[in-house]
């Protein structure tokens, strides 16, 4: 009886070992064929494109202009499409919804939950990651020999710099330069209108990303920068990063314009809360009906569309200057 059990155990162990090895040899296949694609056939135009530094200071060597690009963030997808790289993008996240065409690409998972197998199977020769990926995903991709650029701009200038970098890496330098030039012109047009404003003509602007508790954007954020450029004074200028602000502070500081970020899925809970909270009715913004809702995809992502956002913001903060 006991001998019988031992036999059974051995057989099961043997079968599971066989099954497991079969599986693992299966998964290694795409990786090895990936190397076969990338190394022996470099693009004839350049033996090496160059060495680049990304937004967190990593240096990345690019041997040939990438033809199969995967984006791990909606903002990266927008940047790549804006540079005319749409045809070369083979994988995006489930959150990548702009431009419309991005939705048709293969999905490699969400933003924080990346499907490594899917990435490897798509055989990318460039991955555009974000800083959320630097601890786990990026080292894993590097180990597989896939070049990764981490893109995490913190200001309009840095968005422009990243557009140039991605342009150089992919051989789209001309597109990048003309895009940045036209974007810079639009930014300058806005700041030219607001530059000479006297301090008392700059309204106190309160930016709300979430209402429970109230989250706002501090002076050192890209939103803080946009408010300044649009001729407003950020109510949370003394805060750093995205931070909470107590309701009593908001009432005490008395915002003249409130701008609320839309929530995903069209609920707009935060906007409805701000509009209806009885304790905020005494603020100038609510008295004068100057509470606006803005698209979180435009203001929450660091992409060329941030310039659209700046122009919209000018219309809300200074409708008379638009």
């Amino acid at each position: 009886m006991r001998l019988h059990k031992i036999w059974l155990f051995l057989v099961i162990t043997l079968i599971s070992i066989l099954v497991l090895t079969a599986c693992s040899s299966n998964t290694t296949k795409p990786a090895s064929s990936n190397q076969a694609v990338s190394s022996p056939s470099p693009t004839p135009t350049a033996s090496t494109v160059g060495t680049f530094t990304d937004d967190i200071g990593r240096t990345v060597e690019i041997k040939h202009y990438p033809q199969r690009i995967i984006s791990l963030a909606p903002s990266n997808t927008e940047i790549a499409f804006a540079l005319g790289l749409g045809d070369r993008i083979v994988g995006v996240t489930t959150y990548c919804n702009y431009p419309e065409e991005a939705k048709t690409r293969e999905k490699i998972g969400g933003y924080s939950d990346v499907d490594m197998e899917k990435i490897v199977a798509l055989q990318p020769d460039l991955v555009l990651a974000s800083d959320i990926h630097k601890k786990e995903v990026v080292p894993a991709l590097e180990k597989l020999g896939i070049p990764v650029l981490i893109i995490r701009p913190g200001s309009i200038e840095q968005i422009f710099k990243d557009l140039q970098t991605v342009g150089q890496v992919t051989g789209q330098t001309a597109q990048a330069t003309s895009l940045v030039t036209s974007l810079q012109k639009r930014v300058d047009a806005v700041t030219a209108k607001t530059a000479g404003l006297a301090a008392d003509r700059k309204p106190r602007v309160f930016y709300v990303t979430w209402h429970d508790p109230i989250y706002t954007a501090g002076g050192d954020t890209i939103i803080g920068d946009l408010i300044k450029r649009a001729g407003g004074v950020n109510l949370a200028d003394d805060l750093s990063g995205y931070a909470t602000m107590t309701l009593e502070t908001v009432i005490e500081r008395n915002p003249q314009v409130i701008i609320v970020m839309s929530s995903m899925g069209d609920q707009n809970t935060s906007f409805n809360y701000i509009k209806t909270e009885p304790r905020l009715q005494a603020t100038e913004a609510l008295k004068n009906d100057r509470v606006y809702i803005i698209d979180s995809d435009i203001f929450g992502r660091t992409t060329p569309r941030i310039v659209d956002g700046l122009e919209q913001l000018l219309g809300m903060v200074h409708p008379e200057l638009k």
């Binding site: 805060l239 909470t244 107590t246 609920q267 009885p278 005494a282 929450g300």
Partner: protein, 362 residues
């Protein structure tokens, strides 16, 4: 023989005197703590992003007392709004929630005769969290900002109801089965909640803050909704202090001493669940208060439920008022979720008590 009688009689009168002394101490302690609580609440009204002098606070409070109807003189409308519209409901909410969690914790610990029991032991928090997360990610909304609290209340009560139905054996409710069923159902619910939180996209932040607990949006309407439940529940539990004492011996002995054990368990379970669900549905699952407050009270005043239950209510209220004051002032003009504060400041305080007394807690 005669001497024996004498000794017995004197011992009896000694016990009676001791009993009278103990109930006097209990009464004084409760009154003292209530006064301390009110005093702290008034002090808490003065601090925040703007400092409001005690005199101003006093004049505004007195002017709004129901019987004195006079205006508060030269106090600005903004100051009055901050005091009465924001700080006062927030402080009262912290107090009532703290009282609920303190009493519920003491009740569960007594009911299960287990020092590790807290109000969340049999699924309240896990059910409330799943309800809240569901409310967060459902793309439509009714009832505006009462949508999530409603879901969380239903989730909390529903989870405990399921645990109860699973654990019931015939007409009895074995406490060990109840705990095990609670832990298993809780884990099951957590697995769903965790996954929903992960895929919630830009809602994740709101969900995490809810789970840590916060009083940032507390207002009079919320207070009006939860206070009746919590006061009624605490009242019901206080009536069962004596049976709860007897049940500490053994359920069988308690039964023989004339306690209706099953009825007592059911009433206490329902009341503790209701007050916990009402406490967490608006402010989130604040941890630590429910488990530590009863232990701290036991360390200071002893294990008698007639003092343990009311003093846990008052101490819970005081602890959460203090924690909320810290949460809105330490990082002003921002705030820290109150659940972080309760554990961060409360745990060292409890360890201090534990070291000083150096005796068995439970």
């Amino acid at each position: 023989m005669a001497i024996d009688h004498k000794i017995l009689a004197s011992r009896k009168s000694g016990e009676l005197a001791d009993y009278a002394r103990k109930s006097r101490i209990r009464l004084y302690s409760i009154c003292g703590m209530v006064i301390a609580g009110v005093f702290l609440a008034v002090l808490a009204l003065t601090v925040g992003s703007v400092r409001i002098p005690l005199g101003t606070v006093w004049s505004v409070l007195v002017a709004h007392l129901p019987f004195a109807g006079s205006a508060a003189g030269d106090v600005s409308a903004t100051t009055e709004m901050i005091l009465l519209g924001i700080r006062l409901p927030r402080i009262l909410m912290a107090g009532i929630v703290g009282a609920a969690l303190g009493v519920a914790g003491a009740t569960y610990q007594g009911l299960f005769r287990n020092p590790l029991a807290d109000p969340y032991l049999i699924g309240v928090a896990q059910g409330a969290a799943l309800g809240a997360v569901t409310g967060f990610i459902i793309p439509w909304t009714i009832l505006g900002i009462y949508f999530i609290p409603l879901f969380s209340f239903v989730g909390a009560v529903g989870a405990v109801a399921i645990v109860y139905l699973i654990a019931r054996v015939g007409k009895t409710l074995p406490m060990t089965t109840l705990i095990l069923a609670g832990v298993a159902v809780g884990s099951f619910l957590i697995s769903i909640t965790s996954y929903l939180t992960l895929i919630a996209g830009d809602k994740t932040h709101g969900i995490l803050t809810w789970m840590m607990g916060r009083f940032s949006l507390s207002n009079w309407d919320q207070l009006k909704m939860v206070t009746p439940y919590i006061l009624a529940g605490i009242g019901a539990i206080l009536l069962y202090a004596r049976p709860l004492n007897v049940m500490q011996l053994d359920e069988e002995q308690a039964q023989q001493l004339g306690i209706n054990v099953e009825q007592t368990k059911l009433v206490l379970l329902i009341a503790a669940t209701l007050i916990t669900a009402a406490a967490v549905c608006f402010v989130g699952t604040i941890g630590f208060v429910g488990i530590i407050v009863p232990h701290a009270v036991r360390l200071v005043w002893g294990p008698d439920h007639r003092s343990l239950l009311p003093l846990s209510a008052i101490s819970g209220a005081i602890l959460l008022i203090l924690a909320d004051t810290a949460s809105r002032t330490l990082m002003a003009p921002g705030e820290i979720p109150v659940g972080v504060i309760t554990a961060f400041l409360g745990a060292p305080f409890f360890l201090f008590l534990l070291r000083r007394r150096k005796r068995a807690v439970f």
